[in-house]
Every structure is written in structure tokens, then in C-alpha cells.
Amino acid sequence: MIVRIMGEGQVRLDDGHLTELNKLDDELLTEMESGDESGFRRTLTALLEEVRRLGTPLPDAALEPSELILPSPDATLEEVREMLSDEGLIPG
């Protein structure tokens, strides 16, 4: 499975790792919805670190569509919330 970290590029992840990543991902969503900024930051950092640790980076020139996408490490809770709003990632 190809996962993209926005602003960093793509990594290839073994599907077997998804269960543990899913826990962090669900946690991140809950924190985002509840507006827990510090929890969100902590979980996002942990999630990104796990993805980087478990995944193999893809070369920049690789042309593979990403199946999962993660916000950039410096993304704020508000920014991610906006990205996930009805407008989506690209306005218009």
C-alpha cells in the first residue's frame, strides 16, 4: 500500500502494519473532532513516525497513486479540519 505524507513524498507500507497504524489514525480523528490540539499534535507526530519507520520511501520520480494520505507534520488541527471539510483539499 502506498501512503503519502504531504510535503514529504510517498512510502510503501506492508498491509500487515495497517492495524497498528489504524489505531493511531482513529485516535487522531477523534482528537481532531473534539478539538484537542495538543493530543492531535502528539498523535500526528507518532503516526507519521510510525509510517516513516515501517515504510520504504518511494523515489520522487515514481508515479504511483497514493491510497492513503497523511497531513504534513506541521499541519495544524484547523488546517486538517478544513481539508476534510466539504470543500476538500482544493477549493472550488
Binding site: 489514525d25 482513529d26 497513486p65 497514493s66 492513503l68 497523511l70 482544493i90 477549493p91 472550488g92
Partner: protein
């Protein structure tokens, strides 16, 4: 999975046509695809070359066998001429074995030739497809670039920032102005064509005016001609009348330069006088 990762991925896919993510740029994907097609074409061409080489090798072998076969036939004939039937029989039996090989090789040669023709055709078709794809790819890329620019203009219109909003307004104004000018030019052309509007440029004339101009122009020429004739006639009579100022010969010379027939008529009496 319903977390952030999945949701962002879904949004990305849903907005794929607008997602200008560098690595997922469709232009790059198209170029990549084209590259792959070229590689495939290269492989097919290499295949054609390989088959052609094998065919050539077979042809060389066939030639050698044919030469050997001819040689054995000659040897058999000579042996028979020398009364050595046993030798002749040996030569002919070897030749028969060679002929079998020749037949086998000929079958292989035909198969390879057929294969080569098929591959050549496939290479030609693939080449045409790759060419068509290249054209299509360039069109898509151009369209995509245009769409991308349009998206940016769209973003400007949506007022993402004050500055961008101003750009949007400027574009809007320029578009309005162009449309207005186009509409005005179109309307003026129509009005001129229908005659509802006079052409102030003086470039266009209707046919009646043109005919009138022609007629009046012609009249002017006629009038001018009459006036000149009258002047000439008056000038000549003055010259005759004054007499002492110039000799008759001078008068003749002067008249000849302008109107010969007129001078002839008027000057004849003067010669008579002399």
C-alpha cells in the same frame, strides 16, 4: 478504516482532476506511459531484427547446402562417366541426405519469414499507435495546463486573498471590455450592411453614387475639352490678327505643335496670300 488517512485519500481521489500534487501530475503519468510504449516498440523492433538475423543465417546455410548438393551431383556425373557406378551411387545418396536438410531448412525459412512479416506489421501498427498517443498526450497535456490555469483564475475569482481577488476583478474587467467591443463591432457591421448607419469613413459608395460620379466625371472631361478647343481657336485668330508680331511661318509652327488639322485649315489661305 475511517480515520484521517482514509478520508484524506478519498478526498484526494474525488478531487483528482484538480489535485495538482506534483508526483501525481497527469502530464507526468502520460509522459511515463509514452515512455513505456516507446520501450515496447523498441522491444518489438529488436524482435524483428532478431528474426531477420536468424533468417539471414538460414539463407546462408541453405546456400552452402545447395552448393554442396550441386557439387555432389557433378561428382556423381563424373563418376558415372568414368564407369564408377558405385561412386556415383554414393555421391547421389549423400546428395539425397543433403536435399532432406535443404527441405527442412526451407520450411524453417518460410516460418521465420512469416514471423518476420507479422512482427514488422505489428511494429508498424504499434508505431502508428504510439504516434497517435503522442499527439493525444500533447493535446491532453495542453488541455490540462489550460485547465490548471483556469483553476488558478477560478481561485482568483473565489477571492482566496485580497490580492488574488484584485487579479480576478482585472480579468473580469478585461473580459467584459473585450466582449463589449466585440458586440459593438458586430452591431456596427450589421447596421452598415443594412444601410441603417451611414459610413462616415467615405470608403464605401453605393452603386448609384458611383454611376453619377462616373457620369459627372465624363461631363467634366467633355467640358474641359470644349474649353481647350475654344481657347486654342481664340489664340490662333489672335496670332493671325496681330500679324507683325510674328511671321506666318512661326504661327504655322506653333499651330502644328497643337492641332495639325486645325492649323492646316486655318493656314492654307495665308500660303495663298504669299
Amino acid at each position: 478504516m475511517s480515520g484521517v488517512m482514509k478520508r484524506m485519500g478519498m478526498i484526494f481521489r474525488a478531487k483528482a482532476n484538480r489535485a495538482l500534487d506534483r508526483a501525481e501530475d497527469p502530464r507526468e503519468t502520460l509522459d511515463y506511459s509514452y515512455q513505456k510504449q516507446l520501450e515496447l516498440l523498441q522491444k518489438v523492433r529488436r524482435g524483428v531484427a532478431d528474426v531477420a538475423t536468424s533468417r539471414k543465417r538460414l539463407e546462408l546455410q541453405l546456400n552452402q547446402l545447395q552448393n554442396q548438393s550441386t557439387k555432389l551431383e557433378d561428382q556423381g556425373r563424373k563418376a558415372l562417366a568414368l564407369g564408377r557406378e558405385d561412386l556415383a551411387r554414393e555421391a547421389l545418396s549423400r546428395r539425397a541426405a543433403l536435399q532432406q536438410q535443404v527441405t527442412d531448412l526451407e520450411t524453417q525459412h518460410q516460418t521465420l519469414q512469416g514471423e518476420e512479416e507479422k512482427l514488422t506489421l505489428a511494429a508498424q501498427r504499434l508505431q502508428a499507435k504510439v504516434d497517435a498517443f503522442r499527439t493525444r498526450k500533447e493535446t491532453i497535456k495542453a488541455t490540462y495546463t489550460a485547465a490548471q490555469a483556469q483553476t488558478r483564475i477560478g481561485e482568483a475569482f473565489s477571492g482566496i486573498s485580497e490580492e488574488m481577488g484584485d487579479v480576478g476583478l482585472a480579468i473580469q474587467r478585461a473580459e467584459d471590455k473585450t466582449a463589449q467591443l466585440q458586440a459593438r463591432a458586430g452591431a456596427i457591421d450589421e447596421l452598415l450592411a443594412s444601410g441603417a448607419l451611414d459610413d462616415q469613413s467615405g470608403m464605401a459608395k453605393d452603386d448609384i453614387q458611383a454611376e453619377l460620379d462616373r457620369l459627372s466625371g465624363g461631363t467634366d472631361v467633355e467640358l474641359e475639352l470644349q474649353r481647350m478647343k475654344a481657347e486654342l481657336a481664340g489664340g490662333t485668330s489672335q496670332a493671325i490678327g496681330s500679324g507683325g508680331g510674328s511671321s506666318p511661318q512661326q504661327a504655322i509652327e506653333g499651330g502644328t505643335g497643337q492641332d495639325e488639322s486645325q492649323s492646316q485649315q486655318q493656314d492654307t489661305p495665308r500660303f495663298d496670300k504669299q
